[in-house]
Symmetry: C2
Amino acid sequence: MGVTMPTTSPDFPDRLRAAGLRPTRQRVALARLLFESGHRHVTAESLHVEVKASRMPVSLATVYNALNQFRDAGLLREVVVAPGRSYFDTNTGHHHHFFVEPDGELHDFPSEKVTIAGLPTPPKGTRLARVDVIVRVRR
Amino acid sequence: MGVTMPTTSPDFPDRLRAAGLRPTRQRVALARLLFESGHRHVTAESLHVEVKASRMPVSLATVYNALNQFRDAGLLREVVVAPGRSYFDTNTGHHHHFFVEPDGELHDFPSEKVTIAGLPTPPKGTRLARVDVIVRVRR
DNA sequence: TGCAGTATTTAGAACAGTTCTAAACTTCTT
DNA sequence: AAGAAGTTTAGAACTGTTCTAAATACTGCA
Ligand SMILES: [Mn+2]
Ligand SMILES: [Mn+2]
Ligand SMILES: [Zn+2]
Ligand SMILES: [Zn+2]
């Protein structure tokens, strides 16, 4: 007793099982890096560098597999802001992004503060899927 | 006098010279395809297919060179909406996009009708460059 | 008009990010 | 513990884009 438990006990094996994914060592290691601190924006390469430096190195192919599976399971969302490179975002809630060029840094901003009015109706035969606002800024 | 000249002259050699680019046959052929009808959204590959079918075929490297140069000269703007592929947009004015997945079609919509209010201020040390709104829709 | 100087084009090589292959290994169920 | 199914991995393959360097075209000036 007296030991501080995190308010949300992140049992990664359980969270992965709940998402329909076997909690392998590799997926658990990646999930820890992604989800145990605050929201993050990673690329496959940046996450691979991180996990290689850890106690449970993981191949690049597995990093790609896991990122795609986590995204398909709704644990991550993919953000496309720059040619030739995908970002994966642990914040799956409704929000938008600052993109700092040329650094390639992404920062969230809440969508509650932003009002978008007057969007035209989707083209015939299509349904709205998502509205992305990317505020591009430069140093 | 009195006759209104179109702001966009159809003299492609002159327009290219004005942009600081030598009016080579290849650039003129590409400029014609891009600019002589209404606004367009092309990829390097789609434009290469088009120009190959024309009287003045152009290598893929030249298509890439020209698209990048036209963009740098302000004749085109680059739009990143999907991983692994850049679109080039002949509409350089202020506007936003519908992106139809999974077709990969881009459609403009005017930014005048849209109001974006409450955007947060850019992070310290950065200046606003552009705000992109991408309305993702699905069939 | 011809020439020299510079810019451009090109095929193919190279590169970067991502996906695929198939053999080895792990996890799950019984 | 054993079998079945899912996962990981190294390396090959693939896609979109850029680079290389030799050949060609454009331009300004004689
Ligand atoms: Mn993907
Ligand atoms: Mn580019
Ligand atoms: Zn985000
Ligand atoms: Zn457009």
